[in-house]
Amino acid sequence: MSRAQRYDDVVVTAPVTVPYVRHSSDGAHWFVARALEGILQQSHLVKDDLDGLCLSSFTLAPDTAVGLTQHLGLSLRWLDNIPMGGASGVVALRRALRAVQSGDASIVACVAADTNQIDTFRDTLGNFSRFSQDAVYPYGAGGPNASFAFLTAHYMRTYGARREDFGKLCVAQRTNALRIPHSLFNKPLTLQEYMEARPIAEPLHLFDCVMPCAGAEAFLVMRKGRAVDLGLRFAEVLATMERHNAFPDDPIQTRGGWALDRDELFAQAGVRHDDIDLLQTYDDYPVISLIQIEDLGFCAKGEGPGFVRDHAFTVDGDFPLNTCGGQLSMGQAGAAGGYLGLTEAVRQITGAPLGAAAVPNARVALVSGFGMINYDRGLCCGAAILAGGGT
């Protein structure tokens, strides 16, 4: 297999987070608009400068990205819609990089936005996928809680993980979130509170599950020269990967597509694991963070629990993880949950962290995405290694 072409002088810039709210009566369109507004403010561009849009949203129906162009008055020459949930950020980045590199677009806004009205979450669950509708929803298991309960129970039984190990990640992420001004969770979490929380779908308890909310995340992809001209902080993309429905014959998910592609990912990036200053995993439930840490090669399969016990995951720890608190402490704003790690990583490695959540001397970040529990497992895996480029 020949190595993928490098991304040369195409960069990612202007990371935007539209502060999350638990519920909103506004539509997804409103959140997309706020995200674009934030992008334009930060980049000193005007709306007509955007000629490409890559969108992810679960709550835009009956619209798609197409309807949004007219809704928001955008005239574009490149448009994409990425329905990949937690892998949307990495996959949108890949698509946008190539579009700009090939000249199909010059400035692409990548946006993930979702609202959360009182019944939105339930509706999304009921219509999430055909297999969920046919073979999960009829068992009372609306949403991925039961699927992740199975994966967690199986992981615990097979690799000896304890609830305390997952709790350590959740507590560290909450500590990270407290440094950020707009975090939805603004109270500390202790391990005791984590352990004593009410059960949701055993072995999952309250603090193992993300809280659905409304919000948006966005960034821009453009040529490095343009970013320099605009005076923007930017990050370079050293390597990326995506993989869908990897290991379909595994009876239950213990690994994802990262395990197939991580060697090539690091080889292409030209960095080693020691060079990674911070890791952003997709973290709708803590077990999947352990699986990503293993499959991305930070430790061997099954060594995740030991790895957790041996490391500190706060921004000032020896293994900074989900430095803005991740979804577990920020909330899951639908598809924006698949962008959260990416915008946060870009902020960290370009010296513009939110609040007081800076990882010291952060230069290289690994961002991992995981999405779409279509039936019994997540199907979409992605990862990107980014390096701070300067200002």
């Binding site: 046919d134 073979a135 009829p138 009876p251």
Partner: protein, 406 residues
């Protein structure tokens, strides 16, 4: 009023599970080209992409990979049944499946057996049982799960009306229901009062008489949890030359059911829906005793076959009406019943007692289409395999006249 029900939405392919579940079997999609067994149901084979898929019975054995106890649900129906115990099972035949776990599966279990049941919405759901245990939900007390109990219509503790309970299968049914722990059995009788066992109340009920049916409904209709209509078993011996006997068959089998449906149906629907607040209580089942000849007509029993087909068609409409209330309509298709038709055209026969037991068992097991006895099982399989072939097979059967089949 509509009962709170489990989710109704399914893809067309997924509806294929129901045919097996209706008779108490696990049937999964199998690829004719490469033999792969797959689940959830698909439009094409996930191994070779062929669309030549069919449904085949599976033994359901597998490994329990993981389990969870749901303590929270977004769905109204499930909220009233929490906690719900679920498992992820790798079936020996290939696929992994999300299943309900019966109480007899121990937390440390590894081997289980999975079968398909109908849930309260009448749609198929998979249930795993202990590998060496009995694969039954009903026979009350075997599960503490109110949700699993709603997949069956166990007569234990319920109030049951049996029509034509003064003869043959009706008498046997009353006895079987008492044995199964029914709280009250009403024995409907068209003729003069008969002696009945303790715990049984006689109800005058002639299903060929509008007034009689309405009086009975007014008296007990709002208490009936399970109605068992055995009318077909009491069709008059017919003479092919005599139109009046054909008319009587229609009056009993078809119009009799129609009268019952009009009088008792609305009350049972209301009490099925009303029972949502109290899981496990309220109206839950309506049983129609029909005949195999409802499925395919036998020339030697042409008028009887026609009356059975009419009743079967009406019963399926009744099923659609009762479904939103969570009341299950069960159709029973026996072959020839010994006590009624001693010199029948079919070799294998069924006694009234074993037929009654089959009906009670169907209630306990939540079976929707019942084919009791070997002959009925054989005919059912032939009917499902190829209805056209069965039509021709029946055409060459020449039963003696002046016999009635059940």
């Amino acid at each position: 009023m509509t009962a709170s029900l489990p989710p109704l939405a399914r893809s067309r392919a997924a509806l294929g599970l129901i045919a097996g579940a209706a008779v108490g079997r696990l049937e999964l999609q199998v690829c004719r080209q490469c033999g792969a067994v797959q689940y959830p149901p698909r439009e094409a084979c996930c191994r070779c992409l062929s669309s030549a898929l069919h449904w085949k019975v599976q033994d359901g054995r597998g490994v329990l990979l993981a389990e969870t106890i749901l303590r929270h649900s977004q769905h109204d129906y499930f909220r009233q049944h929490l906690p719900i115990r679920l498992g992820l099972v790798r079936l020996d035949c290939g696929p992994s499946a999300v299943v309900y776990l019966h109480d007899n599966v121990l937390p440390s279990a590894s081997r289980v057996q999975v079968t398909a049941h109908l849930d309260r919405a009448g749609l198929a759901a998979l249930v795993a049982f202990a590998a060496e245990g009995v694969m039954r939900i009903g026979n009350a007390g075997m599960t503490r799960s109110s949700l699993l109990n709603e997949m069956v219509c166990d007569p234990k503790g319920r109030k049951v009306l049996v029509t034509s309970a003064d003869a043959g299968v009706g008498v046997a049914l009353v006895r079987s229901l008492l044995d199964a722990g029914a709280e009250t059995v009403w024995a409907g009788h068209a003729g003069p009062p008969v002696a009945v066992p303790d715990g049984v109340q006689l109800v005058a009920l002639d299903i060929t008489d509008d007034q009689s049916v309405h009086h009975a409904a007014a008296a007990i209709g709002n208490e009936v949890d399970i109605l068992i209509n055995t009318a077909a078993a009491h069709s008059a011996p017919h003479d092919p030359a005599d139109l009046s006997s054909a008319r009587l068959e229609m009056d009993v089998s078809y119009f009799g059911l129609l009268r019952l449906a009009q009088a008792f149906g609305p009350m049972m629907r209301a009490r099925g829906a009303g029972s949502a607040a109290k899981p496990g209580r309220g109206a839950c089942a309506w049983v129609n005793l029909l005949s195999l000849f409802a499925l395919s007509s036998a020339p030697g029993k042409r008028t009887f076959s026609a009356s059975q087909a009419a009743a079967c068609s009406l019963s399926r409409s009744l099923r659609a009406d009762m479904q939103p209330a969570g009341v299950r309509v069960i159709n029973v298709f026996p072959g020839v019943v010994d006590d009624v038709d001693r010199e029948a055209s079919l070799p294998a026969t069924l006694t009234a007692t074993s037929l009654a037991r089959s009906i009670v068992r169907a209630l306990q097991d939540g079976i929707e289409d019942v084919y009791p006895g070997e002959a009925a099982q054989d005919w059912y399989q032939r009917w499902r395999d190829d209805p056209k072939a069965l039509e021709r097979e029946l055409a060459v059967v020449r039963p003696p006249t002046k016999r009635s089949a059940v």
